[in-house]
């Protein structure tokens, strides 16, 4: 059946994508510029037999999501900077407990309450390092309405497959833009479900990783009785602070992302075959960078674009491979410090000239901004 093309907003596409991926639980607290995800879920979740709860705050929201995920649901929440800060502690619990869930962070401008309706991309490092202790996470960055839909499904698929929280790191521009998009028919996009245990309830241990580095996850409330807590625990879920166990646990939390690194790290390249200058962009700055590169070519500058679809784990190999072939690299992002530029610098060292294009006044980066800086 041909699907109807609609004018759909980035945030709506995220809610629709979550439903498509099989999510049937949303708990959240409204905050600009993420609120449309919540209001869409309030409308849609009950229609598909799902649960929608407005919680008392963001701390409660992520706690409810972790609980629902362990009870077998594909659960998610959406927020922006101030709420994302509140979620860090329980996000750490989700990481330690290897709880599959999705958190959407619609980035807005400024520290603290900042400028609520203006865009930013300054949560990149918070997304990676916002929790204390040794841990890893996956973060995906949509740049269009279509990618909002598709990467939400991808986020759930990664969460389920690798038993981990996944952050969908979007921004006010992409969240609020509306574009023509036809939601794919059911079955057109693959949907992944977590591995259930293959052993009997008596033999089940919640952190017994299989060869692929991932431990099957049973359902709370079923005949499988198991324990997940925030403390350092052994394969059986019981608290265990022996040195060997600590090392095993920290390895387990990080190693799975290394084993599956090539499957998780997604990038897109545009006009990179014959380029002299490489623009690196993610989220809202991707379209502007692509438009600027096309315009630069008209002026005799051979520019190409690398879009970081996955920002964590960082696409180091992909950056390195393309950076080797150019005279200069420019990272285009809406933050002061160059949070992604710093990662690029780590990868390319001093072999290639690195330019940073940073705008942090709450306004979009336009193709003209980029052209002027090239």
């Amino acid at each position: 059946m041909k699907q109807e093309v609609r004018l759909i907003q980035g945030n709506e596409a995220i809610a629709e994508g979550a439903i498509y991926a099989g999510s049937r639980f949303y708990a959240g607290y409204p905050i600009t510029p993420s609120s449309e995800i919540m209001s869409e879920c309030a409308k849609i979740m009950p229609k598909v037999g799902g649960i929608f709860i407005q919680m008392e705050d963001e701390i409660g929201s992520i706690a409810a999501v972790v609980g629902a995920a362990l009870a077998g649901a594909k659960a998610f929440t959406a927020t922006s900077g101030p709420g994302f800060s509140l979620m860090q502690e329980n996000l750490g619990v989700a990481i330690a407990g290897e709880v599959p869930c999705v958190v959407v962070d619609v980035q807005r401008c400024g520290p603290s309450s900042g400028a609520a309706t203006k865009p930013g991309q300054a949560d990149v490092m918070q997304i990676r390092w916002g929790r204390h202790g040794d841990q890893s996470i996956i973060a995906l960055c949509p740049s269009t309405v279509a990618e909002c839909f598709l990467l939400t499904i991808q986020a759930f698929n990664f969460a389920e497959k690798f038993r981990t929280p996944v952050i969908l790191a979007t921004d006010e521009v992409v969240a609020h833009e509306r574009q023509n998009f036809a939601i794919p028919a059911p079955g057109d996009i693959p949907v992944v479900n977590r591995k259930p245990p293959t052993v009997s309830p008596e033999k089940y241990r919640p952190f017994d990783a299989e060869e692929d580095g991932i431990a099957p996850l049973a359902v709370y409330g079923s005949e499988y009785v198991f324990h997940i807590s925030s403390s350092m625990s052994g394969p059986d879920g019981v608290t265990n602070s022996k040195p060997d166990n600590i090392q095993w646990k920290v390895d387990q939390l990080n190693r799975k992302f290394e084993i599956h690194r090539n499957e998780i790290v997604l990038t897109k390249s545009y006009d990179t075959d014959d380029m002299d200058v490489l623009l690196i962009a993610y989220g809202a700055t991707t379209g502007a960078s692509r438009a600027a590169a096309l315009e630069a070519r008209k002026n005799g500058i051979k520019a190409g674009v690398l879009q970081l679809v996955t920002i964590w784990p960082f696409p180091d190999k992909e950056v390195e491979m393309l950076a080797k072939r150019v005279k200069s690299v420019m990272v285009v992002e809406m933050n002061y410090a160059g949070q992604v530029a710093g990662e690029v610098q780590k990868v390319i060292g001093s072999h290639v000239e690195l330019k940073r294009f940073n705008k942090y006044n709450g306004q979009n980066i336009s193709p003209r901004d980029i052209l002027a800086a090239l």
Binding site: V5, R6, L7, T32, A116, T117, V173, H176, E177, R178, Q179, N180, A284, G287, A288, R290, A291, L294, N364, S366, P367, R368
Partner: protein
Amino acid sequence: MKDDSDSTYEVVLAGSGGQGLVSSGIMLGEAAILEGKNVTQTTSYGIFQRGGLSIAEVIISDEEILYQRVQDPDIVLALNDDGMNLYASLGEKGIPIFYDTTLVQKQEGENLYGYPFTEMANKLGHSGMANVIALGAVVAKNRMIRVESLEAILGRRFTGKMLEMTIKALYKGVALVTE
């Protein structure tokens, strides 16, 4: 001014929060989708639900739209003084600027088209029709989409007496430009 080979139209709707500019932008975008075009609609607003300067933008194109925001408007509709002050000078560059003389101080200048959209809407029986009248004028002026496509979108959004009124309003707007 754009040349004939350029299929991309960039539209700016500027006014205050609560005037229905985003709804107008969405209707324009949906009408363009009916014609198989690509559309990006964006909004820039403050933290107030009503008042302040709020801008809705629509880009319509046969090509892939890479950058979300309007860079060179092809047509502007201003529904408050702030919006008018921001864009009126574009008239000298050949960009048609439509504005509501009921709400915006009258200005003399090239390509400035003032009409009493709100007053006309009140006469039709609903001040909310001002947007639809203005949209009719905008669409008739630069042919980015067919008026019939917009009429079809109104038909999806409204029913009964309200639909009758909106279609009447749409063609009142068209007549401002064509007659």
